[in-house]
């Protein structure tokens, strides 16, 4: 018996270690990396970052055919086929084939009249009128009704709904909070006018409404299929897991949970019958995807990690398409705290180690992000000049210089601000002559994260700044945000990233009341710009663009959040695919994709 309890103890200890180690097994390996100086060789050829956005292949299209799509992922997918309930991007990729979207958007992500529904915004009365086309049918042949547009609101607003979409934006719909509190059976602000018209009343409309923001929901849900299922049972129901009824060019035929989905063409698709017979999406582990591409297993690859580009760039059976993501990474400086009792950012520039503007700017100039982009990311990441990704052509300020690599300027700025090396150890002291140690929090990601962070630390050392890692190593994602959110005193600066979504508005991330304003910087000027961006006056795009510019310029100047990199996502496309376009707003109509061979083509070498 004694032996048995010992083995149990051993098991427990192992599990304890596992729990402690699993979260951080990547960091522990090379704990002291930051002290090692790192140098990189510059590549001889300047790789061209800009990839094609679309491809057309010659050849006579075959009749029908099944498009084979690989989804690069090392775990099974979740498989929640509902726009109201899904949580991760992979599920949304899977749903993109079946869609349920009622609106179409242009290159600036503004809703157009081309989709199933069109929208009229009456911003004086805070009212939106949505009209749907005649004759649109669900994949089971039932007609699309106004009730199908109302249902999603009633799901998200329902007291039993357990997702993130019931948020401040959603509460902007009149009656949403009452409905959620169980005080009303319907949402009073949503009114069916006739069989084709829906009216939604909001508390306050902003320009974001034209981008699908402000609480507007841009998908329909099949009320004849799921309308009677209680909201708390919906997520486990067959209607969401196995046989969703949809509006898009393809419909789900069969699912192997977590592994693959087989779609067939939807003959009721409102834009016409798809040319393909179907689509097969399979999860493929990242360790073998490059070989799979070379041997011609797949036509289109989604979620391909751009750092693996060198493994596939010379293959002759594919075209690699790329587009900029709605993403930027940044360097944040803690210059205050968040007052959780009063929900407000409290900026204290004078009391903060990072309170000196010139110090922050110098730290931006000192980073050789250009080289990192080239060596580690093959220029599929580029130095970011602003906090609005360039994809938002209307609002991105391409005149901004950003903090380009300039160590001399960094040194000059530090000298000017009084950060000088007093004791001759090669590291600068603060203006009072005290030792200066800046703590950087940085996240674990793939295997290159250690090296890149080490290089940045070296960059700062080169200009005389002693930057060390919070906790002595890279921090696992969950801990990172826990610490950053709690304004951990061990963090002076931190490297994070945001995926912006299609609404570029900075509210939520830089406002005075925003918990996610992690640098804890706010000022009257900044607050005004943010407010103006979403004000009624900003329905005038020119005015809005000006305010966006003011926002970007102000943050560039104060440098409390310095943009680091923009990122490209790439899509390897097999030469069997006749036509494919990944550009925002003009992406290929899925029902028009054609193939030119019976099977995907393998690489010749």
């Amino acid at each position: 018996m004694k032996k048995k309890s010992l083995s149990l103890l051993v098991l427990m200890l192992t599990l304890l270690l596992l729990l402690a180690a699993c979260a951080s097994d990547k960091e522990t390996a090379k704990e002291n990396q930051e002290t090692t100086p790192v140098t990189f060789e510059k590549k001889s050829s300047e790789a061209e970052a800009i990839l094609d956005l679309s491809v057309t292949n010659d050849g006579k299209p075959i009749k029908g055919g099944v498009l084979k799509v690989a989804m690069v992922k090392d775990e099974p997918f979740q498989g929640i086929f509902s726009w109201e309930l899904y949580e991760d991007g992979y599920d949304s990729d899977l749903m993109s084939w079946t869609s349920n979207s009622i609106f179409e958007v242009d290159q600036n992500f503004m809703i157009t009249d081309e989709g199933i529904a069109s929208m009229k915004v009456d911003h004086e009365n805070n009212k939106v009128t949505i009209k749907i086309r005649d004759g649109v049918r669900w994949s089971d042949g039932k007609p699309l009704k106004i009730e199908d547009l109302i249902l999603p609101y009633e799901i998200i607003g329902h007291p039993d709904y357990r997702g993130v979409r019931f948020n401040t934006e959603f509460k902007n719909i009149i009656g949403a909070e009452e409905y959620n509190a169980g005080k009303a059976d319907t949402i009073s602000g949503i009114k069916k006018i006739d069989e084709r018209t829906l009216e939604i009343h909001f508390k306050q409309l902003s320009p974001a409404i034209s981008y699908g923001g402000d609480g507007l929901w841009t998908y329909a849900a099949p009320s004849h299929q799921i309308g009677k299922i209680p909201v708390d049972e919906l997520i486990q129901s067959d209607a969401v897991r196995k046989n969703p009824v949809t509006l898009g060019p393809f419909k789900v035929d069969k699912i192997v949970p977590g592994e693959s989905v087989q779609y067939v063409k939807n003959n009721y698709y409102w834009k016409g019958k798809p040319k393909l017979d179907g689509v097969l999406v399979k999860v493929v582990p990242s360790s073998s995807i490059s070989v799979a591409i070379a041997s011609g297993e797949y036509d289109i690859v989604q979620s391909f990690n751009a750092t693996k580009m060198p493994e596939i760039e010379n293959l002759d059976n594919i075209t690699i398409l790329g587009r900029q993501e709605l993403f930027y990474s940044y360097l944040g400086f803690k210059v205050g705290k968040y007052d959780y009792a009063n929900n407000t950012v409290v900026t204290k520039l004078e009391d903060s180690k990072m309170g000196n503007e010139k110090l922050r700017q110098a730290m931006g100039y000192a980073l050789d992000i250009e080289q990192v982009s080239e060596v580690f990311f093959n220029n599929l990441r580029v130095r970011a000049n602003s906090l609005i990704p360039p994809v938002f052509t209307e609002f991105h300020d391409d005149q901004l210089k950003g903090y380009t690599y300039d160590p001399e300027k960094a040194k000059a700025l530090l000298d000017e601000a009084g950060y000088k090396d007093v004791n001759g150890d090669g590291l600068r002291e603060d203006p009072k002559g005290k030792k200066l140690e800046i703590k950087l929090a940085s996240m674990t990601s793939d295997e290159t994260a250690e090296e890149i962070t080490a290089y940045y630390l070296q960059n700062w050392k080169d200009v005389g700044l002693n930057v060390t890692l919070t906790t002595g190593r890279l921090i696992e994602f969950n801990s990172f945000y826990d610490k950053v959110k709690a304004d951990d005193p061990e963090i002076d600066i931190f490297m994070g990233a945001w995926s912006t979504g299609t609404n570029p508005s900075p509210s939520g991330l830089y406002g005075k009341a925003d918990e996610f304003n992690f640098s804890r910087y706010t000022s009257e000027e900044l607050e005004t710009a943010i407010k103006n961006i979403d004000s009624p006056a900003a329905f005038d795009t020119k005015y809005r663009a000006e305010q966006f510019r003011a926002f970007q310029e102000h943050l560039e100047e104060v440098a409390t959040t310095i943009p680091m990199q923009f990122r490209y996502e790439i899509f390897p496309v097999n030469k069997r695919v006749k036509n494919y376009n990944v550009n925002y707003g003009e992406g290929t109509e899925l029902h028009e994709i054609e193939l030119v061979a019976e099977e995907p083509i393998a690489a010749s070498k």
């Binding site: 729990l19 699993c22 948020n167 939520g508 991330l509």
Partner: protein, 320 residues
Amino acid sequence: MWKTILRRLIIMIPQLFVLSILIFIMAKFMPGDPFTGMITPETDPTRIEELREKAGLNDPWFVQYGRWVGNALQGDFGKSYTFQRDVSDIIGERAINTFYLSFLSVFLLYLIAIPLGILAGRYHSSRLDKTIILYSFITYAIPTFVLALVFLYFLGYQLHWFPTSGSVDIKYEEGTWGFFWSKLYHILLPAITYAILGTTGIIQYLRSEIIDAKAMDYVRTARSKGIPMRKIYTKHIFRNSLLPIAAFLGFTITGLLSGSIFIETIFGYPGMGQLFISSIASRDYSVITALVLLFGFLTLLGSLLSDIIMSIVDPRIRIE
């Protein structure tokens, strides 16, 4: 013996109870929770807090634990935060996959290792023995993921002998023969990889046991009585040499459910190992606790099984 088994089963209850408390507390010690990962510019921090509250994550740990035990005793292990499905459903699905794969792996493992071990022991110091030892050293030294990737590359992508990922081809209907064969076909390559890599221990054990047994008195007696060598090996030596392997059999059987993270990840095979690791990464508490409890139970059961098997194959051992 039945009394002992019953007693051992009863004593498992407090053991599992302690394990569940420990694992529950340790899981809560991990930084972050299932909702930490939900931050995007569009998510509303107050909504996340609300969800946390609704999920009961803000209660003190013993309140949460009490609630969890109450449900667990009724067979309800909660809902996975990540997959939004019942934990028992998810574990059930993965456990079946892992069981098939492990079963075939272990079968192939014994199929390869036992003959090799016997041959190496019987003809020890011969060229055959040396070759087998070399083989077992090499397979022992190769990291799992290397061999898995090499096999996948050559046998899967180059020669197209095996499927390259997943657990079943989508074109077959569940419950048909095609479906069954497709499942078997998909686990073949991962199982072969696993079997080849795991043989060393058994080969070495068996080999040294046989070498030892050859010099034993009972073998000499048998030989002097004129019993043919073949019969001595099959009747006497083999049975005695298998004892240490039989001792491990209990653990091997229960180990069938724990899965292998490397094999599963590389072959894109949804199994238990992967589920365990990913649930830790995403702080999927309900899955973590249920899995650890299951693994703990299996370990206890394994040791009991091993003891029972030993008492059957070795008459010298009796469970009291």
